[in-house]
């Protein structure tokens, strides 16, 4: 999650395999526009409730992280990760 906070730019979409509420908190802190859960994962109720309260859309994708990233990249989605420099 710290990696997300360190490297993601505002309005990015976060792809993750983690489903706990901390994902939503992390997303909220780093101004993430939406969260996509990979491999068809369905987050627990408390994650959904928190996302609802913070107004962050949740999406579930049947694809794994690698395939989903690849598909989105090929479809022309740019990376909003920036290198971590001190």
């Amino acid at each position: 999650m710290s990696d997300v906070l360190a490297s993601i730019q505002p309005d990015a979409v976060l792809l993750t395999g983690l489903c706990n509420p901390q994902v939503v908190r992390t997303a909220q802190m780093s101004d993430v526009a939406a969260i996509v859960f990979v491999r068809g994962k369905k987050p627990p109720e408390e994650t959904i409730e928190l996302a609802d309260a913070e107004g962050i859309p949740l999406i579930t994708s049947p694809f794994g992280m690698f395939e989903l990233s690849g598909r989105l990249f090929l479809a022309g989605l740019p990376s909003l990760e920036r290198p971590i420099t001190n």
């Binding site: 999650m1 906070l5 909220q28 802190m29 913070e54």
Partner: protein, 343 residues
């Protein structure tokens, strides 16, 4: 929105494939049509007449209530028909004013359900060119009438409500510092953080970030402060023996955060500051934490950072954010070029 089938989309997108570009231009009003229920905007108190009433009763009702149509209901409040102004004109042309309403009323009615979303009614208005739609409740009774005017004022009410709530909050908060006079005004937010409380983990930093936005902080500043304090908050949850405290002091030209705990303390502060160095357990890593980026991340977000730790005693972390130019808080969103000496 992109995957919504065409028939479920706002009218101006009807028949078009919704591309991302189009979806991006869906307005808040169009969104509201999917959120508001017909029962939220319809007219509830509706003047109705009975099947045994006459067209003269209709004429009187239209005059008295200044309406353009009257629903006819039976004893169980079931809708039987509707007499419109047009029906009344036909009747008057026939000089038939004392005839029963059943003779002139429209039987085949287009109705909507009170529990449906507004968008269903909008589709019907567009398709049928009708001016009003009787609304039927879950029990099958007449619940109200929906006119295009009801839709407009309902949406305006909803927009106004949303706008006012947030604007009033922001206005009050953003004028806080200029409204209160003192030699040095500051706002202190205090939070107690419990060890291993992952359920509420991040709630404090989330509230701090929200407070800053309401106070008029620009998004980048709120983000920097939010990320730094979130990392510190998670450290208290993950690494301390008894949890800890967060105090944030907000002043017009600087934000200070004090985060401290009573143990166990950090053995080697320099090592802890290195990106990738972590003492987190496997269990913590599985939750997505313990990448060893926390303290390093904090240092990147703040203007000043002071970390003191005594192993066995505890850790004190002081963070400072200096606000310059338009970042200065409490000026009610105006772009103060100079701070002045009122702080």
């Amino acid at each position: 929105m992109p995957d919504t089938p065409p028939e479920k989309t706002p009218l101006r997108f009807k028949g078009k494939v919704i591309t991302d570009e189009l979806a991006g231009s869906i307005t808040r009003v169009e969104e509201l049509a999917y959120i508001l229920k017909i029962s939220d905007v319809m007219t509830h108190q509706v003047k109705t007449l009975r099947p045994q009433d006459t067209m003269r009763n209709v004429m009187d009702a239209l005059r008295e209530y200044r309406i353009s149509g009257v629903p006819i209901v039976d004893e169980a409040k079931n809708l039987i028909g509707l007499v419109s102004t047009e029906d009344l004109i036909k009747c008057l042309a026939n000089q038939d004013i004392d005839k029963c309403v059943l003779e002139y009323m429209t039987h085949d009615l287009v109705t909507v359900n009170s529990f449906d979303h507004l968008t269903e009614a909008l589709k019907l208005f567009a398709k049928t060119k009708l001016g009003r739609l009787p609304v039927i409740s879950e029990k099958g009774e007449l619940a109200g009438i929906l006119t295009k005017g009801d839709v407009t004022s309902g949406i305006l009410r909803a927009l106004e409500h949303e706008y006012q709530e947030e604007e009033v909050r922001k206005y009050r908060a953003s004028h806080l510092f200029e409204d209160i006079e003192s030699s040095r005004t500051s706002l202190i937010l205090r939070y107690d953080i419990q060890r291993y409380n992952f359920t509420d983990g991040g709630a404090a930093s989330s509230n701090i970030k929200r407070a800053l936005v309401r106070l008029g902080a620009n998004p980048q500043l709120a983000r920097r402060v939010g990320i730094a304090i979130y990392e510190a908050e998670m450290n208290l949850i993950i690494h301390t023996t008894k949890g800890g405290s967060i105090h944030v002091e907000i002043e017009p030209n600087q934000i200070s955060a004090y985060i401290w705990d009573e143990g166990p303390g950090i053995k080697d502060v320099n090592l802890a500051m290195q990106p990738g160095y972590s003492t987190a357990t496997e269990e913590i890593r599985e939750l997505g934490f313990g990448a060893g980026m926390g303290l390093f991340n904090i240092s990147r977000c703040v203007d000043e950072m002071n970390l003191k730790s005594d192993f066995g005693k505890g850790t004190h972390l002081t963070l400072k954010f200096f606000l310059k130019g338009e970042d200065i808080m409490g000026d009610g969103h105006s772009n103060l070029k100079e701070d002045g000496n009122d702080a």
